[in-house]
């Protein structure tokens, strides 16, 4: 059974101590700036001079670099290839691959997009590595997010690994009764059909039981909810959030001014 169900890494760092909303604003802010900025080098600046140093401050550099090289780089690399090959823009053909023309415009477009997505996923990875999901939800609920909405998000994150493990059990049960799940791609896809029924219907029954379980624990109580965790929101947090908002406004203004 999975012991670790979120990306969160428990460490004692300055970044961990920031308010969850500040870190969420930071992730959105860095993404926004990477996408809106008029300069192509902005995402690289964000990654090298903001995200990597912050991962060091948060003492999660190893986990971040691990995710960057094993997950983000392959994904954005694939995206770069697809866009470089299939984006029908530009006339300056650099080389031809089969029937596809790779132009310098499509290459720079693909590079720019892949860099932005790299910066976006990196920002949110750093956010997830340093923010406990319960703290985030408690803080957002305290600020007015409906508790039902918060519950759906957080329980979904936790239930996905459970669904995977259940799917594996069902596949094992079906295989023990002679279902062939190996062979060609089509054969493997068709083997998934008998999995869908038990998994979906089983999950629907579970949803009802889970609803009863949380109702039994006062989930729909009209009392103002409290939180076991104490979530700090310091003056520095507020300053950082306002600063990020100002930076975002400056970037938007520059974008308009330079276009």
């Amino acid at each position: 059974m999975h012991e670790r169900l979120s990306f969160y890494v428990k460490r004692d760092s300055f970044l961990h101590g920031l308010n969850p909303l500040t870190k969420l604003t930071l992730a959105f802010g860095l993404t926004f700036v990477s996408f809106i900025s008029p300069w192509y080098w902005t995402p690289h600046f964000v990654i090298l001079l903001v995200i990597i140093p912050l991962s060091l401050v948060g003492r999660v550099q190893r986990e971040y670099l691990n995710a960057a090289f094993r997950l983000i780089l392959p994904t954005t690399g694939f995206l770069f290839l697809m866009q470089a090959l299939f984006q029908p823009i530009g006339k300056t053909v650099i080389f031809q691959f089969w029937f596809l023309d790779v132009t310098s415009e499509s290459l720079s477009f693909a590079f720019e997009n892949a860099s932005r997505i790299f910066a976006m996923v990196s920002s949110f990875t750093l956010f997830l590595l340093t923010t406990h999901p319960s703290e985030l939800m408690s803080d957002l609920t305290r600020r007015g997010l409906p508790s039902q909405f918060a519950y759906v998000i957080i329980s979904t994150i936790q239930i996905i690994p459970q669904m995977q493990s259940k799917a594996q059990t069902i596949i094992a049960a079906q295989r023990s009764r002679g279902l062939d799940t190996e062979g060609s791609f089509l054969k493997r896809i068709s083997a998934l059909v008998p999995l869908v029924g038990p998994l979906v219907f089983g999950s629907l029954v579970e949803v009802e039981e889970r609803a009863i379980a949380i109702e039994a624990r006062g989930f729909t109580s009209t009392n103002r909810k409290t939180s076991l965790r104490e979530i700090r929101d310091t003056g520095f947090d507020k300053f950082v959030r306002w600063l990020l908002l100002m930076i975002a406004l400056v970037v938007v203004s520059l974008k308009i001014w330079l276009s």
């Binding site: 319960s134 957080i154 949380i214 109702e215 624990r217 104490e230």
Partner: protein, 280 residues
């Protein structure tokens, strides 16, 4: 003074013609431990859901008669008010984990957070509840990493921490192996000793005989018997109706016919009683 009052209770689930419960009368006194027994489909879970307020607040359908717990009628209360008085623990421990918390400690605090209990009080009540059910050592573990018996003890603790007046347990060990069953019944034993009002639907008669002050046998939605554990659990009226019967009772009943068990001696329910009887 009865804390639970059911009067002429009849209930139909939505879109069904046959009632799940028919004219059920049941009174439970404060501090009493009542076990509900019956074959599958007899109406045990329906009765538990009714006492716990989920019928009619969660499952709609047609409810007739009166359901009253701690002086409040179910029809004049909301479910979130009702759960302050009645706690419910059911069969599948996995589905009772909220999914919203990452450690056992947080999981147990979930109900108190929902009720708006102040932080300091949450901490002291969670510590007390963990100690009561003997799972303080699991406090920092993920609820999903636990065994079935441990998860069910977490589910029980999550309800006990809310300090309900009545605890309803719907076959809490039915999906458990013998070790898990022993763990959960260990907790139930300590609750019984503390005088908490408990209504428990259960198939495992040897355990029922050890805890219950009274046993109610339900058959086809009606109360078939209501009396002292031994009187009900060894009654011939349960035979042939799909009731789970203690293996010691069945063996002794067979032994009576073959002349190994004295006819005037009461039939046993537990292992100890069987040993004593066969010695005689």
């Amino acid at each position: 003074m009865a804390i639970i009052n059911l009067h002429q209770l009849t209930y139909h689930y939505p879109l069904t013609d046959t009632p799940a419960l028919t004219k059920v009368d049941l009174n439970v006194k404060e501090g009493e431990f009542v076990a509900i027994i019956g074959p599958n489909g007899a109406g045990k879970s329906t009765l538990c859901y009714t006492i716990a307020g989920f019928i009619p607040h969660f499952f709609k359908g047609d409810l007739e008669g009166r359901v009253e717990v701690a002086g409040i009628e179910t029809s004049s209360s909301t479910l979130s008010e009702w759960v302050l008085n009645v706690g419910l623990v059911f069969q599948n421990p996995f589905n009772q984990i909220s999914g919203a918390k990452y450690t056992v400690y947080e999981e147990i605090a979930f109900g108190l957070e929902n009720l708006g209990v102040p932080r300091d009080e949450i901490k002291s009540r969670v510590d007390q509840a963990l100690a009561l059910t003997g799972i303080s050592d699991l406090a920092d573990r993920s609820p999903y990493s636990l065994s079935g018996g441990q998860q069910q003890r977490v589910a029980l603790t999550s309800i006990l921490v809310m300090q309900p007046k009545v605890l309803v347990l719907d076959e809490p060990t039915s999906q458990m192996d013998p070790i898990g069953t022993r763990e959960v019944f260990g907790v139930i034993r300590s609750l019984a000793e503390r005088g908490i009002t408990v209504v428990m639907a259960e198939h495992k008669m040897e355990w029922v005989a050890q805890f219950a002050d009274r046993v109610v046998a339900i058959y086809e939605g009606r109360v078939l018997m209501n009396g002292k554990p031994r009187e009900v659990l060894t009654s011939g009226r349960l035979v042939g109706r799909g009731f789970a019967i203690s293996r010691y009772t069945s063996t002794a009943r067979e032994a009576v016919e073959r002349g190994f068990w004295p006819k005037d001696l009461e039939l046993p329910v537990t292992l100890d009683e069987a040993v004593q009887g066969f010695k005689k």
